[in-house]
Structures are given as C-alpha cells and as structure tokens.
Amino acid sequence: MTQLLPRVPVHPLLRLPAVAAPLAVGAVAAASCVVVALVDPNQPGRYPLCPFYAVTGRWCPGCGSLRGLHQLLNGNVGAALGFNPLMVLAAPILVYSWLAWLSRSVAAGPTLPRFGTGARTPLVVLVVVLAFWLLRNLAWAPFTVLAP
C-alpha cells in the first residue's frame, strides 16, 4: 500500500513531530474508552453487533470485549473476565505497547522494549487466540465460562 503511493517530499516545517502519531492514537483510544465506560453496551441497540456473530451465530475471539471493557473501565475486573478474558489479558499489553511507542518517539528519556520481539511470542499469541476461539464455542462445561 505504501509502495503504490508516490513518496511526496514534505517541507521540514510542515512535518509533524514523531510524537504526534502516538498522541493521536492515545487521544482516540481515550475518547473511545470514555464513550464505552459511560454508554453501557449491555443495552441492546446502542452498538453494532459483531459481524462474525451476526453472520455465523458463533462467537469470535473479540466477542464480549465491548461489554467487558465497559466493566473493566468501571473497575469490575471479575465481570470483565466473564465477558472476554482475552481482552483483559490484551489490555495491559496494549497499554504497555502504547507507552513503549511513546518512549520511542520521544528523544529524551529511556526507551521501553517493544512487545512481541521474542522468537516465539507471536506464535504463542496465535495459538492462544485460536484455542480461545475454538474453546469458547464449545457448548459444555467448563468451556461455557469462556463464552461472553
């Protein structure tokens, strides 16, 4: 995608500082969290349904993450785990990765190491996500606790 677009030289005065990208993403994430914390996704019709669930009737690995995030942002970790334990696991990784991105974009101060550079880390993530996807769709105990 980046190859298809010609690289247009940008005047140095118009170029955004490196810190602009993590700050913009952080602002969007914070605003989204405020909306999800205040507008309860348990009330039907407020947010769109997961397209995978709407089409197949099965849960995807992300199903329940909106309701879970609402609980997590309101301090109910247990309820959040009940909706989507993968989301609760991913949340600190995402927050840390954002901090690491911010630290890389600022010249001063220490630079936090990137998540996922270990030889096996991405593979572990893949196996965990696929196993979670399969197991949460099984209709018998103890796997039913993984359903949202």
Binding site: M1, P48, L94, P122, L126
Partner: protein
C-alpha cells in the same frame, strides 16, 4: 497488493544493525492483537499469522521475506480496523436514517 518483495529499504527505511548485527523489523503484532480483540473480525487473526512469520524468517536470515510478512500483517490489521470502522459508520447512518424517517412519518 502488487506482489513480490519490496525494494530493499523501501519499507520504513533500512533496518538498523546492518551486517553482523540482527536487524530489527517491527512485526506489527500489537496492531494485530488490537484489531483481533476490538474489531470483532477474524481478519485480525490473519494479521497475527503474518506477524508470527516475521521473527522466524528474520532468524533464518530471510530479511526480505520478514519485511514482506510484516507489511502483510500491517495490511490485514488495517483491513480489520477499516471494516470495523465502516460497519460502525453504516450502523450510525442507518440509525440516523431510521430516526429521520420516523420523525417525518410521525
């Protein structure tokens, strides 16, 4: 998406390290995780699959292949996020349309 490997240094500049040192390539794993968990679409999993190829190819010395997989991981994460955003916008548009329709008919 064009196909083939990107020209050396064409994606995100040349990897630091050079000869002797292990070059670092961002495998975009975190974007893949983000879109898998929050965009509610299995497209994010395709992104994780490509992200998982990067470190292995890099360890095997296949720098061009690692860069190609990293680029695909990024593309699929963007596709997952894009589909999520489009669906939300469609949903909002339908609600605005229904709201306007009920306002007109009532």
């Amino acid at each position: 998406m064009g196909g083939g490997y990107p020209p050396p240094g064409g994606y995100g500049g040349p990897p630091p390290g050079g000869y002797g040192g292990q070059p670092q390539i961002n495998n975009n794993l975190v974007w893949a995780i983000l879109t898998t968990v929050f965009c509610c679409l299995p497209l994010g999993i395709v992104s994780i699959v490509f992200a998982a190829q990067v470190n292995g190819k890099l360890a095997a010395g296949d720098v061009a292949g690692a860069m190609d997989s990293a680029k695909k991981a990024k593309t699929w994460a963007m596709a997952s996020a894009g589909v999520g955003v489009v669906l939300v916008l469609l949903y909002v548009a339908v609600f605005v349309f229904l709201g306007a329709a009920s306002f007109v008919t009532s």
